[in-house]
């Protein structure tokens, strides 16, 4: 089967538009893209490489690229004791825009929750539950913040 990069781009743009609408920033798809990338990389830090591979095996091509971009595979997961530590981690991953895109705990949790809601059409329930089960105790509520996905 040939690689249809135009199709990947079209699917990616449609996905980003849908995500920006759900994140209530339809006029700022750049922001939605930053939140998507940061959310995936933050979750990635708390999954084993094997768990990550299981997750991205279900992603469409454009999301696989976002997920693995800049990935330094480690055998140990990042450890967080409190949500506040995770919020700092998310802000660090986001870089200069971190404090603007993720100003509070609520925004971090709500954004990641929303990203995974939109991702849900690609992730089977079984895989989603595996991700939840493998998250640290203090992060288990991330994917069920106010939207139960």
């Amino acid at each position: 089967m040939g690689l249809d990069f135009k199709k990947f781009a079209t699917e990616g743009e449609e996905f980003l538009h849908n995500l920006s609408v759900e994140l209530n920033c339809a006029n700022d798809q750049q922001k939605a893209g930053r939140i998507l990338r940061t959310s995936l990389h933050a979750i990635r830090n708390h999954l084993s490489p094997n768990e990550s591979l299981q997750l991205i095996s279900q992603f469409p091509m454009f999301l696989k690229a976002v997920y693995v971009d800049g990935w330094k595979i480690k055998t140990t997961k990042n450890k967080v004791r409190h949500m506040a530590d995770f919020v700092k981690e998310v802000q660090n991953i986001a870089g200069p825009t971190g404090k603007g895109d993720f100003p509070t705990d609520e925004v971090v949790e709500g954004s990641i929750n929303t990203v995974f809601m939109v991702l849900r059409k690609y992730i089977s329930l079984g895989e989603l539950e595996d991700i939840k089960a493998n998250l640290p105790k203090d992060l288990k509520g991330l994917l069920n913040y106010d939207i139960l996905i």
Binding site: L125, N144, L148, I149
Partner: protein, 175 residues
């Protein structure tokens, strides 16, 4: 964002939804007194009831009424997205997948949906059922985009699938 305080307002907002507003965003604006829904509730001792408030080509809004301990079959459906919001009582949603180690289904998780939460269900691999675990009646407000025309019921023990056309106990025609 402006809150939505009446059912008529909700149906208008849904019908006039613009491309940059999400269905969930609309549902989160809903602050309708549960009493306003009461005239649309129906009850049946034998089964939960499905009461359609409005149905268009794009979406369908339902009130699902459960007597104590009533539950849906394990099912999934052909629509793209659904949001379930409990407006009276409390519901448990159980989620399933095909048993990787044998026949039938395996329960993979459950969540309790109270009045502050929204359960999101994607048509993709989303076998689930709702159980009224509350001490009395429960009611949920369900928004489907697009409307559900048929669903598949799954037998827990065997995994056998039965396709069924969706039916309603009542159909209201709200403006």
């Amino acid at each position: 964002m402006k809150t939505i305080t009446t059912i008529n307002e909700l149906t208008q907002v849904l019908k006039e939804r613009k491309a940059d507003e999400s269905y969930l965003g609309i549902m989160k604006r809903v602050a309708i007194n549960p009493r306003e829904y009461e005239k649309y509730f129906t009850w049946d001792d034998a089964h939960y009831t499905r009461n359609c408030l409005i149905k268009t080509a794009e979406f369908e809004l339902l009130l699902i009424c459960y007597e104590k301990a009533q539950q849906t079959p394990i099912h999934d459906f052909d629509t793209q997205d659904a949001w379930v919001h409990t407006i009276v009582g409390k519901l448990k949603e159980e989620r399933f997948r095909l048993n990787p180690g044998g026949a039938g289904l395996e329960k993979v998780g459950s969540v309790t949906i109270g009045p502050t939460e929204f359960s999101y269900i994607s048509g993709y691999a989303g076998m689930h059922r709702f159980i009224n675990t509350y001490e009395s009646r429960s009611v949920s407000l369900n928004l489907y985009a697009r409307p559900v025309e048929k669903w598949k019921e799954h037998d827990f023990a065997t995994g056998e699938v039965t396709e069924k056309a969706v039916s309603h106990d009542t159909i209201y025609v709200l403006p």
